[in-house]
């Protein structure tokens, strides 16, 4: 088992420092040679020519959240399986692979049940066929009567 010293993380730290340095130099230090004539018109959000209406921070459909929910469950599953996967080959070569194969298959099958449930409930398809809720239907009928 190769023992390692902490110098192993030195390149990661240096590279992060270099990226911060590159960012600071290219964005801020170059301010000197860069023209800067701010004007209100120039700073409007780009809306294909019309003037922007309202703020962008209105909320969105929930399906973005459901996707990230399924992602994090599979991410955690992957994270838990990495150590077991990294020793599987040693156990197979020794001939003991059956035990680990069994626990891995149980682990994966329990989570496949999860994705089958989400699939059947329609969480995975992106454009949901919304049935209009009762009060929305009433509003529509009300609007037709009035017009």
């Amino acid at each position: 088992m190769a023992s390692y010293t902490l110098d192993v993380y030195m390149p990661v730290l240096i590279l992060m420092g270099l990226s911060v340095g590159l960012f600071l130099v290219s964005v801020f230090a170059a301010k000197i040679i860069r023209p800067s004539k701010p004007s209100a018109l120039k700073e409007q959000a780009y809306e294909c020519g019309e003037d922007p209406v309202g703020t962008a921070w209105s909320n969105f459909n929930v399906r973005f959240y459901v996707v990230s929910l399924i992602f994090i469950v599979f991410d955690v599953e992957g994270a838990l399986m990495f150590p077991v996967a990294s020793i599987y080959r040693k156990f197979v070569e020794v001939g003991e692979g059956g035990v680990i194969l069994g626990s891995l298959l149980v682990f994966i099958s329990v989570l496949v049940v999860g994705i089958v449930y989400c699939w059947s409930k329609g969480d995975l398809d992106w454009v949901r066929s919304f049935q209009l809720s009762e009060d929305q239907v009433k509003q529509l009928q009300g609007a037709e009567k009035r017009s």
Partner: protein
């Protein structure tokens, strides 16, 4: 030499991120500062030889939980507007002075009790010679499969429960 640098930089990153989460008004800034804290804590794991934990922290927290938080902030009215249905603009960001006093008092009381408990322990514990760093992945893998296989399987059932429950709750409904 480099060990101290890595320790100091990740400790400063973690603590300043945590204090930033306490004192920032905007919720989106709080999420990004939590991301900085998580990177700091991942560096702290790396300094004490827990290399798999540092990577797992990055993958699960910085890769998953933070994005979940960002989406949740966006789906619940963004970071700025907090007026409720009566139209009153409630500043949800920071509590009132009263809550601060209570928070300060609890912090003081807790810190005194904990330091009291740890005081004699600090004196007796002398630092043994530390083992060189070993790669922990294989050991964690063998532990997960031999001694703690029950915890390993139950965590998959826990994940299934979390997935089904949260999907059922957060599914876009008609109403």
């Amino acid at each position: 030499m480099f060990e101290n640098i890595l320790f100091l930089s990740s400790a400063v990153l973690a603590l300043s991120g945590a204090l930033g989460v306490v004192f920032t008004k905007n919720l989106m800034h709080a999420c990004v500062l939590l991301l900085a804290t998580l990177f700091g804590v991942s560096g702290l794991y790396a300094v004490i030889g827990a290399d798999f934990l540092a990577a797992a922290q990055l993958v699960i927290y910085a890769g998953g939980v933070i994005i979940l938080m960002l989406f949740a902030v966006m789906l619940t009215g963004g970071a700025a507007n907090n007026e409720n249905k009566f139209g009153i603009d409630k500043v949800a960001a920071m509590g009132s002075v009263k809550t601060y006093i209570y928070a300060g008092l609890t912090v003081l009381v807790m810190s005194f009790t904990i330091l009291k408990i740890l005081a004699n322990y600090m004196k007796t514990f002398e630092q043994g010679e530390l083992a060189p760093f070993e790669s922990t992945v294989e050991k964690i893998g063998t532990l997960l499969v031999t001694d703690h296989v029950l915890a390993f399987e139950i965590s998959s059932i826990l994940l299934l429960g979390a997935l089904v429950g949260a999907a059922a709750i957060a599914r876009p409904r008609r109403g």
